[in-house]
Each structure stands twice: as structure tokens, then as C-alpha cells.
Subunit: 196 residues, 2 copies
DNA sequence: CGGGTATATGTCATATTTTACATATACCCG
DNA sequence: CGGGTATATGTAAAATATGACATATACCCG
């Protein structure tokens, strides 16, 4: 059922982490396809430990609060592998931007343009971030040699999709904004052949 | 907060509908970007009516159970328009397929291939559906003339994005499957130059 | 006539997620 | 020294969403 635990296992399979670390990784590396707040993470870790998927070791720190580093058990790996080969259940998509687009006929084109320009900028910014990340990862030997059983390659694969997604979304926003701008111009500014 | 009500208003702005109709439309037309079950829809409609965004009229039927047809009020339109121009809040993405991709290094390439082939087929199927829908809608005068303030155009715009999304996702799945297949061949089948 | 599907509307328990509350140390800046 | 940020871990209330239960009519197929 709950994919949250597999998201946590996905990260813990790469290296032992604390709950705090997990929340950070989610905001940084897996944010594009999975994310959770610490308030969801801590209880889930406790539950998973109770079920024997994880163990933890308390690391005493003087400079900072003590922390609990979680490590996957054999049962944890087995659970992750078992889930991995299960067919993906189609999940409902929810995209507020599309919902607004669907209602855009209710407002003036010039009022709507800002929404699409803002989203375009948002997706362009993420695109830039992902492109910077992939540039580094692409140089790794495992990725160059298509070593599919490496962490690096699977990170690369998700980034490739992320880039494709952001680029596509940004393009669509631009098309939409331009179409609206053109409609707004025609509506009242008339069609002045020579600008200014 | 709750975008569900705006999803309902988005559909009701186009024509008065029953709760049952709304559930159907969500599965059919807005499924790509918003969906809800009837168990969520009925209570929300009641709440919205109480808040004055909707009114309903009971239609007696002999052949079937009586139904409640909901119509938006002026306050409903005002609420939808107000929401529409608000900036889109970035929502967390959750994509189980990407999560599995991220862990794919844990299993054998030949075990993973099926997942990607299945998703490719899934996205291709949706692509086909959307392409059939857009073919009809593209012929409408409002769409041809880029009449952005028409229901038809905004439907067209969301479909365009849907098609782009599905095509991109299917392509990525194909790339992933092919990369895994190639890795699986190299791993044990060696590199037989001449097949069979 | 029994079973399945479509129409039609609801409730309720549970699961999932977010937001807010809560605490504690240490560092840096002004 | 006060305020902000980062590290670190939790709890609890509230919002959101799913899945199951519940009922009723009518049609079609075998």
C-alpha cells in the first residue's frame, strides 16, 4: 500500500541515514518524484523498525543533538525488491495548473498570461537545476558504460525523465502564454502592422 | 486550500451536472489532471451548497432514481475566478514509477524490463485516447481561430499538454527498456554477432 | 429468474498527508 | 544578547483521499 516506506527504503538502500537526512534528501534528490515531511518520516521509520525492515544506532554528538542512524536489514532489502517487481498501480494525477487552464476561458487572456509565464519560469528554473546535476553524473564511468545496476545510472535515468518533463512543461507554458498574448493583442490593441 | 471544490466548479462552470455526472467527467475528461471519487464529491457538493456556491434542483425520473442537478451561483463563479488568478502553489509530485527506477540497480535488468514495457504500453494507450479526442476538438471553429475564451480551446490546451506528457513518458520508458534489454543481453547472452 | 451493468446518492472507517506545536543545541550576524 | 538558520527528533490535530458498505431502480443476457 503505502509507497512512503519504499521511498524511504529507496534512499536507505543507498546509504544509512537519519530521519533528518531523509527529509533533506527528499527535498533535494527525490523531490521530483517523491517527497514527505519529517512529521511523516519519523513515525514511519519507527514502524518499519518495529517490523524489522530497519535497525538504528544512536550516534552521540557534542556539537549537535544526538542522532539515530537507520540501516536497512535483509528483510528491508527483500521488501524493497519484492515491491520493485510489482506492477505500478496507476495513481491519480493532480495538477492545479491544468485545472486552471481548463477554466481559463472564464477570465481575460491578459489576466491569465501571468500564470503561464510564472509556471514557465518555475519549470525553466528546475530544468536548469536538473541539467547541472546531470552534467556531473553523466561523467561517471557507470553512467557512460550504461551500468544499469549502479546507483549512478538509476539516478541518471530519473534525471533524464525529470529534464524531459520540465522542458516539455516549460515549452507548453510558453506556447500557452504566447497564444494568450496574441489573443490579448488582437482583442483591443488591434492589429498594428508596424510596432511601437 | 482544497482544490477539489475548484475541480468541481471547473466542470459545473461548463454545464449543470449531478454528483454522478461529475464523477464520470472526472474519470473521462479531467482524469489526466484531476480526479475524485463519488464519496468525496457528494459531501463537497453539500458543503459548497451550504456556502452558497451552488444550488440544486431535484429532477424526478421514472426510469431511474431521482437526481440532483447542481448549478453554480454568481458566488460560485466569483470564487472560481478569484482562485483562477491566484499563483499556482507548487504541489509535491509523486510518481511510483520514478521511485522504482531509482531503485532499479537492486534487481536484474531482465527483471526490470517488464515494468518499463508495461508503462510504455500504458502511456501509449493514453496517448492514443488523447489523440482521438484532440482530432475532434481541433476541427472546432473556436479552436481553429484560437478563441482562448472558449471552453473548446481550454479543453484543447489541456489535451495538448496531456499528449506531450504521455508521448514523452512513453519515449522515456522505451529508452529505459531498450537500455535494460541491451544490458541484459551483454550480461549473459554474450555478443553473438549473427542472431539465432 | 439470477447475475451483471448502469444510473443515482449517500455514509463511514481507514489511510495518507499537511500544518502546527514542541523542544534543544550551536553558530553567525548585527 | 536577540534573531535567524541549521541540526535533530518527535507529537497531534486537521485536511484530504481511498475503499468498503449501503440502498434502489431498470435493463440486458443467458
Amino acid at each position: 500500500m503505502t509507497a512512503l516506506r519504499y521511498a524511504l527504503l529507496a534512499l536507505l538502500a543507498r546509504s544509512p541515514l537519519t530521519g533528518y537526512d531523509l527529509a533533506q534528501r527528499m527535498r533535494q534528490s527525490t523531490d521530483f518524484f517523491w517527497t514527505a515531511r519529517h512529521s511523516q518520516i519519523y513515525p514511519e521509520l519507527a514502524q518499519m523498525e518495529k517490523e524489522g525492515l530497519l535497525t538504528h544506532e544512536t550516534v552521540r554528538q557534542t556539537e549537535r543533538p544526538d542522532k539515530k542512524v537507520f540501516t536497512m536489514t535483509g528483510a528491508g532489502y527483500a521488501a524493497l525488491r519484492a515491491w520493485l517487481v510489482q506492477p505500478v498501480r496507476p495513481a491519480p494525477e493532480r495538477d492545479e495548473m491544468m485545472l486552471k487552464t481548463f477554466c481559463a476561458w472564464l477570465i481575460e487572456p491578459r489576466e491569465a498570461v501571468g500564470l503561464f509565464r510564472a509556471q514557465e519560469a518555475e519549470h525553466m528554473a528546475r530544468l536548469t537545476t536538473y541539467e547541472a546535476l546531470i552534467a556531473d553524473i553523466e561523467r561517471l564511468p557507470d553512467v557512460r558504460s550504461r551500468q544499469v545496476k549502479s546507483k549512478a545510472f538509476t539516478s541518471y535515468a530519473t534525471l533524464r525523465r525529470g529534464i524531459q518533463y520540465e522542458r516539455g512543461y516549460a515549452e507548453w507554458c510558453r506556447w500557452m502564454a504566447e497564444t494568450l498574448e496574441s489573443a490579448a493583442r488582437e482583442e483591443h490593441g488591434e492589429h498594428r502592422e508596424h510596432a511601437e
